[in-house]
């Protein structure tokens, strides 16, 4: 089976399975085959920055990679982007002409790297990068969520946030803001907000949190609402990312961290999105090496071998029912991360071009 070239390659999987390394290797392979590639990664690991020669100051900025140590010249230089939520917020504010967005205290706190808006913001960032039309293929390393599917749920969250009731509040806030652009924008506003239950809710909120918070909170809602075009633009991604002709989905799991439930859960979630095609990338496969090992029956060594083999076999079995295809990436015996990426890129090329 060949791996098709699509506009998006999305890498899912819990952290630590080699997702970022595999995604980087894939970007290099595609770039070496002449594709114009954007590699977007959210992984905070410093070593990846080292591989790509990126400094901390590069977060949130496009960096073009034309050559890498140990790997050499890249045929078509590719762009790499390390997500930086505050930078995304800043750009969104500029695009929507709402410069207060990045200055709002609440928005600023939430856009911190661990503030919790990573998934949503990376979808928005992705959409805005695509609009530039500069890329044939975007390789996307999804953020390490408590759950790997949180990334897709980001879309649902945007939708529910901007649902009908919210729009009512926002519209009323917006009108208010137009009428009194310079006065204490939000003072006394709570009483005037229409919409069943909303003003009651806000007044309870005020009782618990204090008036200052409610004011700040309304101000945050107001700037978010005025920038809603940027938020809602992220929604356009859902259709593209779920279309098998536009996006490859790769679930990455490593033999040491094999999680059977993960495979089952993603199947369920994919079904909800009407998505059937998905590849499993099995990283750090050892089984072929283990087969040549014949420890004495009943020994401790035999028990060790058996447990390692069973782990890997179980993982392979689930792919028969849940996945379109399985691709092996052997355990790379090298301590240098650049060497890892180099060998994994060769493996990608093998998978992509052999039948």
């Amino acid at each position: 089976m060949k791996i098709p070239i699509r506009s998006f390659d999305i890498f899912f999987g819990t952290g630590g399975v080699g997702k970022t390394t595999l995604a980087t290797a894939r970007a290099i392979q595609l770039a070496n085959e002449g594709q114009r590639v954007l590699l977007m990664t959210i992984d905070p690991a410093k070593r990846l920055k080292d591989i790509l020669g990126l400094g901390d100051d590069c977060a949130g900025e496009i960096k073009t990679i034309s050559e890498l140590p140990e790997i050499g010249k890249i045929k078509t230089p590719f762009d790499a982007l390390l997500m930086s939520p505050p930078k995304t917020i800043e750009r969104m504010g500029q695009a929507a002409g709402v410069k207060e967005l990045s200055q709002n205290r609440i928005v600023e706190v939430l856009a911190r790297p661990n503030g919790g808006m990573n998934e949503i913001l990376s979808l928005i960032e992705l959409q805005s990068r695509l609009e530039s039309g500069k890329y044939d293929c975007v390789v996307l390393d999804t953020p390490p969520g408590p759950h790997f599917l949180d990334f897709l749920d980001g879309l649902e969250k945007i939708k529910s946030f901007f649902d009908q009731r919210f729009v009512e509040i926002f519209t009323s806030l917006g009108r208010r803001a137009m009428e009194q652009p310079h006065k204490g924008l939000m003072s006394g506003l709570i009483d005037k907000v229409v919409g069943a239950g909303v003003n009651k809710l806000l007044s309870y909120l005020q009782k618990v949190t204090g008036e200052k918070f409610v004011e700040d909170f309304l101000a945050a809602l107001e700037v978010i609402y005025r920038s809603r075009s940027s938020f809602v633009s992220g929604l356009a991604m859902e259709k593209k990312l779920c279309d098998p002709l536009q996006a490859n989905w790769f679930l990455v799991t490593s033999v040491e961290q094999g999680k059977f439930n993960e495979a089952k859960e993603i199947q369920l979630a994919a079904a909800k999105k009407q998505r059937k095609e998905m590849f499993l990338l099995l990283n750090k496969a050892l089984i072929h090496q283990l087969e040549s090992w014949n420890p004495e029956a009943g020994s401790k060594a035999a028990k060790l071998k058996e447990s390692l083999v069973i782990k890997e076999k179980n993982l392979r079995d689930i792919t028969k029912t849940h996945f379109t295809g399985l691709f092996d990436f052997p355990e790379i015996m090298a301590s240098s991360p650049t060497q890892h990426v180099k060998e994994l890129a060769l493996q990608w090329s093998h998978h992509a071009n052999s039948n």
Binding site: P44, R47, H147, T209, F213
Partner: protein
């Protein structure tokens, strides 16, 4: 008992490093020391989401370990109800679309609510020790950070006072221990060290790194193994050497499959989590 246990142990690390197994094993071990320890998981998934990360299967295998699963909606309802003095109002508030959207959009808010509940439970029962099977690395940090983020957001009022109180206890090194689990690879270790640095930037918490699934104790058995396995072992030994100052202990790889056997295999290492 030659040690003073902490009240709250937060087990974290990337998915698949063995958080659930080790936090359950540690809870069991604490109980064998006659301590009143409880295993606890949090559901931070959107309210009313059917996907729970609750490890039912593992819990069944471990048998009689007391466990608590906190649902965000219940914690939120309890908190608001206490503040407003009305459970009816509180029930209504957490069901509103507004509140759900708010919690969905701001996961940190949910963390504050659940962490608050955990601290309340510890406060109510002075004997209780909680072993928290926390979300993956980045998010454990988000969880620890959330309370101070929201303290900054609120600035004044009832919630602000509560977050102040929470921080005092949560960020006390005698109260809270963070146990970071990692695998024997350079990248995984590097990330654990980064997580530890970030946690300590936040507060001077007692933060320790443990290497799980270590093949080190299998060195003899691996002497006639295929080259690839031997190389894996020697890479691991290099990693252990490189990070020896950061590592608190290694937990040996267990070739067993049942919870009881795994517990016996790793039992002697569990004291190091204290």
């Amino acid at each position: 008992m030659g040690f003073t246990p902490k009240r709250l142990y937060i087990f974290t690390g990337k998915g698949g490093v063995g958080k659930t197994t080790l936090s359950l094993a540690f809870t069991q071990w604490l109980r064998e020391q006659n301590l009143s320890a409880t295993y606890l998981t949090l559901s931070q998934q959107a309210l009313s989401d059917e996907r729970a990360s609750y490890p039912t299967q593992s819990l069944n295998e471990w048998g009689n370990i007391p466990h608590i699963h906190l649902e965000l909606e219940e914690c939120a309802e309890g908190y608001i109800s206490k503040k407003l003095g009305s459970s009816m109002l509180s029930k209504w508030i957490v069901k509103t679309a507004f509140f759900r959207a708010l919690v969905n959009m701001l996961p940190g808010f949910g963390y504050v609510i659940s962490v608050g509940k955990v601290l309340d439970m510890l406060n109510e029962d002075p004997q209780l020790i909680i072993v928290l099977d926390a979300p993956a690395s980045g998010h454990a940090l988000a969880m620890l950070e959330a309370t101070s983020n929201f303290r900054e957001i609120f600035q004044a009022g009832l919630v602000f006072d509560d977050t102040e109180k929470m921080l005092k206890r949560l960020y006390d090194e005698k109260h809270t221990g963070v146990r970071i689990l990692t695998l024997p690879t350079s990248l995984s270790m590097q990330e654990a060290v980064e997580l530890k640095t970030s946690v300590q930037k936040l507060a001077p918490l007692d933060t320790k790194i443990f290497l799980n699934h270590s093949l080190e104790s299998w060195t003899t058995e691996l002497s006639d193994a295929p080259v690839a396995m031997k190389e894996k072992l020697s890479l691991e030994l290099e990693v252990i050497e490189e990070f020896k100052n950061d590592l608190s202990a290694s937990i040996p790889y267990s070739a067993s499959s049942s919870a009881k056997e795994i517990y016996q295999d790793i039992k002697s290492s569990l004291e190091k989590f204290v």
